[in-house]
Symmetry: C2
Subunit: 268 residues, 2 copies
Amino acid sequence: MSNNAPIGMFDSGIGGLTIAKALMQRLPQESLCYLGDTAHMPYGDKSPERLKEYAVGITKRLMDLGCKAVVVACNSASSNALDEVRAVAGPEVPVIDVVSPVVDWAVSHNPCGEFALIGTRATVQSGLYDRLFSAKGGKVTSLATPLLASAIEEGFHNGTISKAVVEAYFADGWAAEKDAMLLACTHYPLVKDEICAQLPSQVVVVDTPAIVSERAAKVLSERGARASAKTQSDRFEVTDWTQAFADGAAHILGTSVDLFEVPWSEIQ
Amino acid sequence: MSNNAPIGMFDSGIGGLTIAKALMQRLPQESLCYLGDTAHMPYGDKSPERLKEYAVGITKRLMDLGCKAVVVACNSASSNALDEVRAVAGPEVPVIDVVSPVVDWAVSHNPCGEFALIGTRATVQSGLYDRLFSAKGGKVTSLATPLLASAIEEGFHNGTISKAVVEAYFADGWAAEKDAMLLACTHYPLVKDEICAQLPSQVVVVDTPAIVSERAAKVLSERGARASAKTQSDRFEVTDWTQAFADGAAHILGTSVDLFEVPWSEIQ
């Protein structure tokens, strides 16, 4: 496979674009194929079985598009469907998830730290973060904040709503004594300021997109698979075209994008 | 078709159960088949094309189950896919939507009234309420409150979140001068108290489930299709089984229900 082939990425909606933006900055010579599975958005409340089904279909699509790597830019999918993505991608195509790089980073930077984590119900219920932290001797306290991704998909242009939701989830001070907060959903960096405002200043909010893009760079370098130059435009696909996604993508990436609809019925 | 055949109903999630509950009270001798399309939940941000596709599949499923009528217990689907539901149901199977009964009721009870309406983006953008009110000489002001259905699906057991979302949507007092508020999403009756608390006491909050169940009773009676006795248990299906739906259904209906999963891949 050519080193100039694109990196495939997916999420249920716009959240994974926070990872895409970090990748564009860290690896400007790489081309991206981003798929937002908006027909099934949000992923955070879907069952593990559905998440596996969607991840398999999307990975096949990314393989059809000739991607040289897959970034699972969604914590719900990373926590529930990583084995399925790897099985479809095969041994030649590296798969980068958004969970293990962050756990590795957290434990290596603060081995005795007490970590707080917020994520979707699907992510928290999977128990993957707990298992990975536990295996490295780290401690994490998780809270499912199921409405936050929807609040961000809906209203991050209008801070009122997402601010109200963030405040409600942190109202009882459960995270105030921790050393660091992990944003275990790729949507959450979009309300990082609102989250920081609810936490004492000593609580470090971990920058997931930067950590994941660094891991992607490392994985590609180890395989000698880095692109030498950007040879094609980034491609953005959704399973349901909506103006809300187009507006959100333009807001996050700082530029409007051509957005192609590929209905789920063509992906299965 | 037998009068004792069930009434089919659908929504994306638990919201339509507010209609189901009203139907059970108004027509206790009828049996229900309820389908929650949780794999595609929420409907409020889906495109009209997807809503039509989902409504067609679900109506076929309800016809396969032998339903004698279809209640489209979702404003987003009623506003965007009613023709498609009627086409699948055919002339022998009456289709009851949740939009026209409420507009008829509102204009007949207060012909000079100024109405406020909150609904999903899909409902408000369809313009159906505007057209129906306009045709009857009524006036309505609509606001899309896209996060509210998700907030209710997620957190109506824990009022903090939905209360924060309701407060944020009404913060600027846009509805305070109206005569009545239409809850144009079948989820919203679940936070009726929180909505009432944000409105002056002279603003009547219209009881959609009661109006729709009355319309269903009228339509069945006109066709001589009322059941004489309840001969089968109500059936509840979802396209993605989750504990959250099971808990929500039990909370709304006041009793736990057997919940069957019928994946979308078997419905198409």
